[in-house]
């Protein structure tokens, strides 16, 4: 089985989807000849030509607005927003249009597309190349939100996202674009949306993470194991609709919960996860749940490793939660 990194796996998924279905088109800034600033769309322009792999003018609102029109015509656009920090000019189209078309038209029109965009920090990107804005999209009725952590899942989830009938926001953790490597089967396969995976089994405390922070959670879990605490690490994979069963099964087993994400704490996705656990498994909790997240500040440059919820911050939270009486 070939070894791939995330970039190669996502590229492979795009190529498979485009070969299989002529309606699939890729559009965005620099996605064509140069193959994207992270090279995720590398080679697609040569294979599929400039009517299916389109370098667009520099306008996120234009990219998503045009993609909506293409979707209404029956195509399956896979637009790329070069950095998720730049997605906001398209927010009106995503919130008011992409997410609402099926509902507001009584099911007559759909605006099916997969918006791919790199997310996350730890790449010396500063404020405008580092943010992780999933919460602003999970809050919007009508969107599905995906964030893989490894090449196998990235390929399988992207293929599942493209064939899913609903619009999907596909967040790609750029810190591990090339660092995360693994076996990736050739050809088509899917990883079902709305299914989390248990990345590490344990019985003392549950840790929920996704994207690049999964590796930090696993690292902290390994260190905790040396101190006799076995953490169960859940990789959400699909953020919304979230796989609540996998979360509840684990929390009911451990009675303790740590949630990790890069985005700021207040009204971050961790708030919703914690509320769901409190509503559905309150009496199983044996210690106050803890969130280890980015701070409620803009994303910093020089001090980014202090801002991010890395292993060194997850470990004490995990031990404290596991040991709380």
């Amino acid at each position: 089985m070939p070894q791939m990194n995330m970039v190669q796996a996502i590229n492979d998924a795009l190529r498979i989807a485009m070969r299989k279905d002529e309606r699939v088109v890729v559009l965005g800034e620099d996605v064509g000849k140069v193959g994207g600033v992270f090279r995720v769309t590398s080679g697609l322009f040569d294979e599929f030509g400039d009517s299916r792999v389109v370098d667009t003018p520099l306008s996120e609102g234009g990219i998503i607005g045009a993609a909506v029109g293409m979707a209404l015509y029956g195509m399956v656009p896979v637009p790329e927003i070069q950095f998720s920090d730049f997605i906001w000019p398209a927010y009106d189209q995503i919130v008011s249009e992409v997410a609402k078309y099926r509902y507001r038209s009584g099911g007559e029109y759909t605006s099916k597309m997969v918006i791919r965009t790199p997310v996350g920090g730890g790449i010396r990107g500063g404020h405008y190349h580092s943010q992780h804005p999933e919460a602003q999209f999970i809050h919007v009725a009508g969107l599905k939100v995906v964030c893989p952590s490894n090449p196998y899942d990235a390929k399988g989830l992207l293929l599942a996202s493209i064939s899913d009938p609903d619009p999907v926001l596909f967040f790609e953790p750029k810190r591990v674009y090339r660092a995360a490597k693994g076996d990736v089967p050739e050809g088509e396969y899917t990883v079902p949306l709305e299914s989390a995976s248990v990345a590490r089994e344990g019985q003392h405390v549950t840790v929920i993470a996704y994207g690049a922070m999964l590796y930090e959670a696993i690292d902290a879990a390994e260190k905790a194991a040396a101190q006799g605490v076995e953490a169960e690490v859940i990789d959400l994979r699909t953020l919304w609709p979230v796989d609540i069963e996998t979360i509840l099964t684990s929390v009911k087993k451990t009675g303790r919960l740590v949630i990790v994400h890069e985005a700021p704490k207040t009204c971050g996705f961790g708030s919703e996860l914690l509320s769901l656990v409190c509503e559905k498994a309150f009496y199983h909790l044996e210690a106050p749940p803890v969130r280890v997240t980015g701070y409620d500040t803009p994303f910093p440059y020089t001090l980014e490793m202090e801002y991010l919820p890395l292993s060194h911050r997850i470990l004490p939270a995990l031990l404290e939660t596991a040991r709380a009486a």
């Binding site: 009517s51 607005g65 909506v68 029109g69 656009p77 507001r104």
Partner: protein, 376 residues
């Protein structure tokens, strides 16, 4: 090669750059006469009149508290009916929110429109949007959205997709002159220019964006001028002259279909009513401003042509008016008696199928207490 639009533009430069066909004496300028048959001229007049009568009825219903809202097209009927008429059967319209007349002309059933006005169970959008926010795919008519300009880039993407698939389809996007200040106007024209999409940008310049006059939307010489920055030819047309609207729109469709790209049409008209039934234009607009436009009423002007041709005499018009009156009465009766959408439909179509969290919330709604207020 100079396109016909450009030659029209040049030829009429002496008349403030505004294309006109229908003269004040009811005759047509032979240079641009779109060559409508007598039946077509009567058909258009009937549709403009229907549009006006529907408007009047809906305003009355809103004043009576029987519907919540209406956004009408009083005075702008020629821009809407003329442009919709000029599109070919395979073409598509991406509406703003003031073009119900175009939808009806393209085959949107009158009853469905009234169902939408009442938000009942037969409303094509299942009571999920305000009145006048409908959808009719069958009529090749898009989906009405309130945010300004969003349909402009969508019309470009739709036309672009048709072009990629080598389908002979042209897409017209309606918007008001206020929308030319939106991001989407810039994005849409820019993408259309770069990718030469078969799009017709139809700007109804009705003088007002709610209370804000055109001087506060732009310092450009005209709204049509804005096309030049994007490589999209712009043309100004007398929007109360249905013959001119048809001639100019047809030319834009021809250009688009022949691969010459998009056209920006600025149809100059005037919003004779408020922005919507929620607006009170007496707070910001002197009534004297309406007087010159009353003389340019698009129905009156087409009526002048019909009189000169001896078409659709008054007796026929009166008969038509009473037929429309009966149809509207029935449509209102049926729509008003139709029950509200079923409670559980609140959760349909958010996604293709119901995820667990919406299953939970649906069960919660169905098992919970009902709201005290009656549904619309």
């Amino acid at each position: 090669m100079t396109s016909a639009i450009e030659s029209i533009y040049t030829e009429f430069a002496s008349q403030d750059d505004v294309v006109r066909v229908l003269k004040s004496d009811g005759s047509l300028d032979p240079r641009l006469d779109p060559g409508l048959s007598a039946e077509e001229a009567v058909y258009l007049y009937r549709h403009m009149l229907l549009t006006r009568l529907v408007d009047e009825r809906l305003v009355t219903l809103q004043r009576q508290g029987r519907i919540g809202f209406h956004i009408g097209s009083l005075g702008e009927e020629a821009t809407i009916i003329g442009s919709a008429f000029a599109m070919r059967k395979q073409d598509w319209l991406f509406p703003c929110y003031r073009e119900f007349g175009a939808a009806l002309l393209r085959g949107f059933p009158l009853q469905r429109y009234f169902d939408n006005m009442f938000g009942n169970a037969n409303d094509p959008v299942k009571g999920r949007q305000m009145p006048d926010h409908y959808t009719c795919k069958e009529a090749h008519f898009g989906s009405v959205s309130s945010p300004i300009g969003t349909q402009i880039t969508q019309a470009v993407g739709f036309a672009w997709a048709a072009k990629i698939q080598k389908h002979d389809v042209v897409v017209l996007s309606y918007f008001g002159e206020g929308a030319t200040s939106s991001n989407e106007f810039h994005n849409g024209l820019n993408f259309a220019g770069v990718f030469r999409t078969p799009t017709v940008f139809f700007c109804r310049n009705n003088g007002w964006a709610i209370s804000v006059p055109i001087e506060r939307q732009t310092a450009s010489r005209s709204f049509a001028d804005k096309g030049e920055a994007y490589g999209v030819p712009g043309v100004r047309v007398d929007g109360n002259d249905i013959f001119a609207v048809i001639a100019v729109t047809r030319e834009a469709v021809r250009r688009a279909a022949e691969g010459q790209g998009a056209t920006l049409i600025e149809a100059i008209t005037y919003r004779m009513g408020g922005h919507s039934t929620s607006d009170d234009p007496t707070r910001y607009r002197d009534k004297a401003l309406l007087e010159p436009w009353s003389d340019r009423d698009p129905l009156g002007r087409l009526r002048g042509y019909l009189d000169r041709q001896g078409l659709f005499p008054e007796a026929e018009e009166l008969k038509f008016r009473s037929e429309v009156d009966a149809r509207l009465k029935e449509a209102v009766d049926v729509a008003e008696k139709t029950h509200a959408p079923a409670l559980e439909t609140l959760f349909d179509d958010v996604y293709a199928s119901l995820p667990w969290h919406l299953e939970e919330q649906k069960a919660e709604l169905l098992a919970g207490p009902r709201a005290p207020a009656p549904h619309h």
